[in-house]
Symmetry: C2
Subunit: 173 residues, 2 copies
Amino acid sequence: MKKGLLMVNTGEGKGKTTAALGMLLRSWGRDFRVCVIQFIKAETGKWGEVRAAKKLGIEWHTTGDGFTWTSKDMEETAARARHGWELAREKISSGNYDLIVLDEFTYTMAYGWLDVNEVLDWLRKNRPANLHLVITGRSAPEELIAEADLVTEMKVIKHPFDKGIHAQAGVEF
Amino acid sequence: MKKGLLMVNTGEGKGKTTAALGMLLRSWGRDFRVCVIQFIKAETGKWGEVRAAKKLGIEWHTTGDGFTWTSKDMEETAARARHGWELAREKISSGNYDLIVLDEFTYTMAYGWLDVNEVLDWLRKNRPANLHLVITGRSAPEELIAEADLVTEMKVIKHPFDKGIHAQAGVEF
């Protein structure tokens, strides 16, 4: 039995986006057609992963404003999330991809900008059977977890910030 | 304060190697000098990640026989692990890298082929201060966790094998 998997990387720990990147690299290594849509994160293009994707020629869209949780203009932030979902639907239903990553997509549902049941309903009707979909972010809604094939929780056991060490370029971003 | 991090991805869930790959991609995107040494896994070169690394020109060594846990010749398996560690020490102490991944390295200590205290002692004395080291695998020894800067546990919440879906090329390998 072969089918596209709906995968979720969630939890408070590191490695949610990073594991999605690893899957992207692995898929790219097999000449899969891949695409990334990043929600929430800013369109700076300075992140290590965005630089890598550019070098690899991987299609990469950033749709967030990068300051969602402290945004002064939540209307703008919510509108960006909805725009990102519009783009995601276009890519998903196109049939042009083998694997699509929706990075930090959980927040759009957790914050109520998108309705999780509407999202899942749309996916059931429009996701090509062989398309792998990877969704990352904290606070994955129960409905999404129930629907997914593979769900991994990344748990913090120890974090360098506890020791006063700052985030490191090339490792965490 | 800037320093190379000792990072461990452990736990029973998916994403340990995959997150290390993501970090590799991110580092590569920043023109870091990176290198991967894979323990345990066979030298087939058919994995998606090995193909990707070849395409990217990333230095990648596989040192395992791929059948460690069912190996009929444990002497051979143990010898391969020790050879891998020899190679790792050479790469680590060379000063030629910014990030090195020791994939599935925990098993060499968990199975007793290498002594965790000797490994840590060697690392304390020989690891360049700015080198990031990523170690993956289940059953990370307590001593390693105590020494590490960042430890993440990957937990299975749901796995497609439960539904009778087989491992998928490009996603899981």
